[in-house]
């Protein structure tokens, strides 16, 4: 299992592409099978041979779970600013522009209205390849607005997370996205709108420590790393040998943090069933 965990989330947030030498993205890191891209897409990016769940880009994810043609994106124009004038080896504005060019997205979350198995909902889906799915002001605002739309329409919110944590280029404001999104969930709860959190690989740090953990129901994809602190840092700090399944969805389930692990082909019907149950309640 451990072989296909990316233990290097912490230092590759800004890398959209897998580092060279790590194998082709369509080669299964678990069993070595290689697929054409259309084969993988047809199989929802699950290895037909061994069941490994490959990463899914946000548009494809939406196509996988929303009813065809129902997704209406909101807040398309929303962008993070650069409140700190942040500059490390590169300017933050430059990194943002590069990420937008690479992904075609304004930031690491896409949100909008949709229906899942004919149940209306709001969808908020994260894109890991946009600066490691890090949460800055734009992601926080998009999520908060998605909560508000769900509350207003009294429909469930479904969030699909994939994130390396807060976006440190926005400094303390990125940390403030934690209480911001938590506050948004509180407003959602006050409106009695349901919230289903789907955690995919990897959901870590600031996203795990805020809205992702506050779902009425929390499900995870198999093999997903769900940890506040990634294994590399834990290993460096404690100098212990980590358990093989450290931080994985399976371990999180054993420790009581996840309601169910749902395989990708089952995700849409599972969400449909849940949404139907929530719709009947009130």
């Amino acid at each position: 299992m451990a072989s296909h965990i990316d233990v290097r989330i912490e230092d590759r947030r800004e890398d959209a592409q897998p580092p060279s030498g790590k194998g082709h993205p369509n080669t299964c890191p678990s069993c070595g099978s290689h697929y054409r891209d259309d084969e993988l897409e047809q199989n929802l990016r699950v290895c037909p041979h061994c069941g490994h769940h490959f990463p899914v880009r946000v548009r494809e994810r939406i196509a996988q779970i929303a009813d065809r043609g129902t997704f209406v994106e909101h807040d398309v124009e929303l962008r993070s600013s650069d409140p700190l004038g942040f500059f490390d080896l590169k300017a933050y504005t430059e990194r943002l522009a590069q990420a937008e060019q690479d992904t075609g997205l304004g930031d690491a979350m896409v949100a909008g209205a949709a229906s899942i198995e004919r149940r209306p909902c709001e969808l908020a889906v994260m894109e890991f390849t946009f600066m490691g799915g890090s949460m800055g002001s734009a992601v926080g605002e998009k999520f908060a607005r998605a909560c508000e739309r769900a509350a207003e329409r009294h429909v469930p919110l479904v969030a699909v997370t994939a994130s390396g944590g807060a976006r440190m280029q926005e400094g303390i404001l990125s940390l403030m996205q934690l209480p911001k999104t938590v506050s948004a969930v509180d407003a959602l709860r006050e409106a009695r709108a349901p919230f289903v959190s789907v955690m995919t690989h990897p959901t870590t740090a600031g996203v795990l420590a805020s809205f992702a953990s506050l779902g009425d129901v929390i499900v995870a994809e198999p093999g997903a790393l769900l940890a506040f602190t990634g294994p590399r840092v834990v290993q460096q700090t404690t100098r212990e040998k980590l358990p093989d399944d450290f931080g994985l969805a399976e371990s999180n389930t054993r420790f009581g943090h996840v309601d169910a692990i749902v395989r990708r082909p089952d995700l849409r019907p599972y969400l449909g069933r849940l949404l139907a149950l929530f719709a009947n309640g009130s």
């Binding site: 409140p83 209480p179 506050s183």
Partner: protein
């Protein structure tokens, strides 16, 4: 969410707002430290000037200074009749977070704060102020007790961060940091937070979701440690000073960004030089922050708190 004014206008607006805030902060007027107004005026000047990279780094050093007063040093100076409460009712008592009831200027309050250790033994015992999930659960329990009885909640933040250990992960620290924030958002009682040293990431914000958030003059509040940031972005932990200058964890910048509501002055040279004076200033700061909100309608206050955090961030759309 209307279109925002230009950056330069915002800057000017902010500068004016900030200066007005600084002049108005009663604690910075500092009557309680005995009329040393000239010194305090200098302090205002100092705080009012945008800090240089060196000054930011000086804050980082003072915030982590081994002689800096910790939560319990303030508790014994600011509060009366402190009764410490222990345990998360599930699994352990986490010494990295202290919690209890106390009297503050005639009124009962609940206190929750990170606690670092002074000597090696206590440091280990307190886990350097890095909480486990048990600590957040204890915090939540005591805050809920305060809520039931109408006691205002004070939180003092001073942690390098959540503990990056195997058991802390297994016991769900991500989830508990989230739930602790949610518990604070939902409080019906007033809440005041002050960052008194290191406000390190998730471990800090877990207990910092208050109606009013203050920082001591030399405290820092940040999403990652300067060393961690440097290691990731500069691929070199020794570039910490450069990283700190870039992500600006000092109080002045946090005030500018609207993250905190006020700065609590420290004795000249830093709180570590005079615990009593630092405590007097902090006490005044807490009182000044609490008084205006203590008697508001609970629902209104709660909504305002939620709106305060809902508004965090700078973006364009």
């Amino acid at each position: 969410m209307a279109a925002e004014p230009k950056q330069s206008e915002i800057e000017q607006l902010r500068l004016r707002e900030r200066l007005a805030k600084l002049r108005n902060l009663p604690l910075i007027g500092g009557v309680s430290v005995g009329g040393e107004l000239a010194r305090l005026e200098r302090q205002i000047e100092r705080i009012a000037t945008e800090p240089s990279a060196d000054e930011v780094w000086h804050s980082v050093e003072l915030a982590r200074h081994q002689d800096r007063p910790y939560t319990l040093d303030y508790v014994e100076r600011i509060f009366d009749d402190f009764v410490e409460l222990h345990g998360d009712r599930s699994f352990a008592d986490d010494p990295a977070i202290v919690a209890g009831l106390a009297r503050f200027r005639g009124r009962t309050i609940a206190l929750v704060g990170h606690q670092k250790g002074r000597d090696i033994r206590e440091r280990t015992h307190r886990n350097f102020g890095m909480p486990y999930p048990e600590g957040y659960r204890k915090a939540m329990r005591v805050m809920e007790l305060a809520d039931r009885h109408g006691f205002p909640v004070f939180t003092l933040v001073d942690t390098p961060g959540a503990y990056p250990g195997v058991a802390a992960e297994q016991h769900g620290q991500g989830g508990w940091i989230a739930r602790c924030q949610l518990a604070m958002v939902r409080l019906t009682v007033p809440s005041i937070c002050c960052v008194i040293g290191e406000g390190g990431s998730g471990g800090a914000v877990a207990i910092a979701v208050a109606d009013r958030v203050l920082m001591q003059e030399n405290a820092i509040y940040s999403v990652i440690s300067p060393e961690g940031c440097a290691a990731i972005l500069w691929r070199d932990a020794s570039e910490a000073k450069k990283a700190a200058a870039a992500f600006k964890p000092d109080a002045r910048h946090c005030l500018d960004l609207g993250v905190i509501d006020g700065i609590v002055a420290e004795p000249e040279g830093g709180a570590q030089l005079d615990f009593d004076a630092a405590a007097a200033l902090l006490g005044d700061g807490l009182a000044a922050a609490l008084d205006p909100i203590a008697d508001l309608d609970a629902d209104e206050r709660r909504r305002a708190r939620r709106a305060r955090f809902r508004a965090m961030g700078v973006f364009a759309s």
